[in-house]
Symmetry: C2
């Protein structure tokens, strides 16, 4: 079967379509932010397809998009829709694979490293998984090298508002999950000021999909505001130094602890796509 | 027991003393290289002691030494002598811990990131371990961002000469081991031009110690020559760019695959000491 003939069931199709639309809107909006800063930067777009046998991803397609601009020093937006078969070892960690190790996954992943040290960096990821079970996962976390209490409060308030629309417990559960997840234990520090992180969400498809769409929309709503607020603030040598050191910590988190990164690299994922999350530059003092 | 009262048996004492002497000679020689380049750089020396309970290192002392110079952009030389107790999980991977999970370890570890992209970076590490068994391990690998066939050949020839003095198989076994170990599979590339890597060497104490001393002496013999040969060669923007990209790959290796780094960080080792090996700066294009 060619990957462009990959047959999707209805849930797979609507989720995959939504992530694709979200990707288009995000890329458009980010390019618009560059244009308003009189920058000609645009996303470099690389579609890919995969068709192999064996464990891991067997059939799939995706789009890697990378922009290096004046406001966005380096931003990567990846979407992918894949089918495959987990190895016996890996299947043990994944719900619903007891009788059948096949899986479907579709999702979007975004990391933005910003040029101005006053503008926070951000990460967003949403995905829909199917084995014999199906669930949503995702999250957003804000990663300022120069934290502003006002930005942090507004970011969390926005996330709380969309969480509360769906379930009274979501914000406290998912923000605590983000705190646990985005932790750099060997530095005794967090990766940023948190956000939300959720996985294995399977209350019912329509409700969980609606929540995941709201997470994507919340990202589009919140982040450009924070960028606009800080992008023209003058930065000095110390600010850039702090940003560069911070990026070293971000690199340590991603290469030592990030589940997606380790999964991608150790199962033979495309290194350039998986490591698009690494900063344009980092220092270690 | 205070760590300065740590009682060592004869083998522990002579190995620990040797690593300390090697450290002194290396630091002296590296500072001399800086002085000859009219640089005032010298090692910033941080002795440390540890005295805790529980799994991992319990009693120990060491010296972290870091120099940021004109020839050595960032070079770290660490020595440590420690006693402790492996956790049950970790003990499974270590020889001689079936009946007693206690261990002794002493060693030296060095990573040099050089300012001039024509000068190769280098890593050296030698150690003596005791559980109910005892063994030596170590290695040197050369990491040029701009490889010169002449330097690579001379480096390997020097290592072969000292290996051949001790055992006709050592060079082929240990250089192949280095090739396997210093591999970055997700980039389908090696970390550098190889060298030697050995572990669990327990033919007999005197012979293995003599070999390990020769590895240390070989380092002192080879590396300053390579530095002198390349340090005055003019480098252009492309050379510096290649160096910075190379350092990104080096960072990926160390955080994703290096056994010592992962062991150190995940058992609560001092992050500053363990991560002294990371480059002063890296980029990801």
């Amino acid at each position: 079967m060619k990957s462009d003939e990959m047959l999707l069931n209805e849930q797979q199709q609507v989720t995959s379509d939504w992530f694709h639309q979200l990707r288009d809107r995000i890329c458009q909006q980010f390019e618009e932010i560059e244009r308003q800063a009189a920058s000609p930067a645009s996303f470099q777009v690389t579609p890919w397809q995969k068709n192999t046998e064996g464990y891991g991803i067997q059939t799939g397609r995706g789009i890697r998009s990378l922009m290096k601009g004046q406001i966005f020093e380096k931003v990567g937006v990846n979407i992918s829709t894949v089918k495959g078969c987990f190895s016996p070892d890996f299947a043990k960690k994944i719900p619903g694979t007891e009788d059948d190790p096949h899986f479907f996954a579709t999702g979007i992943s975004l990391v933005a490293h910003m040029a101005n040290p006053h503008v926070p960096n951000i990460h967003m990821n949403c995905r829909f998984l199917q084995t014999t079970k199906s669930w949503f996962g995702g999250g957003i976390d804000l990663n300022p090298s120069t934290p502003y209490a006002e930005d942090t409060a507004e970011f969390h308030q926005n996330l709380k508002t969309i969480c509360d629309k769906h379930h009274p417990d979501y914000y406290s559960r998912f923000s605590e999950w983000a705190d646990r997840y985005f932790d750099i234990p060997h530095r005794q520090t967090k990766r940023g000021v948190g956000g939300i992180f959720y996985d294995y969400l399977d209350s019912n498809f329509a409700a969980d999909f609606a929540f995941t769409k709201d997470v994507g929309k919340a990202f589009l709503d919140i982040f450009p505001k924070l960028v606009a607020r800080r992008q023209n603030r003058a930065a000095n040598q110390e600010d850039f130094q702090r940003l560069a050191v911070y990026r070293g910590r971000y690199t340590e988190f991603n290469l030592l602890y990030d589940r997606g990164t380790l999964f991608g690299l150790k199962t033979g994922g495309d290194a350039d796509a998986v490591l698009m999350s690494l900063p344009p530059m980092a220092i270690w003092e």
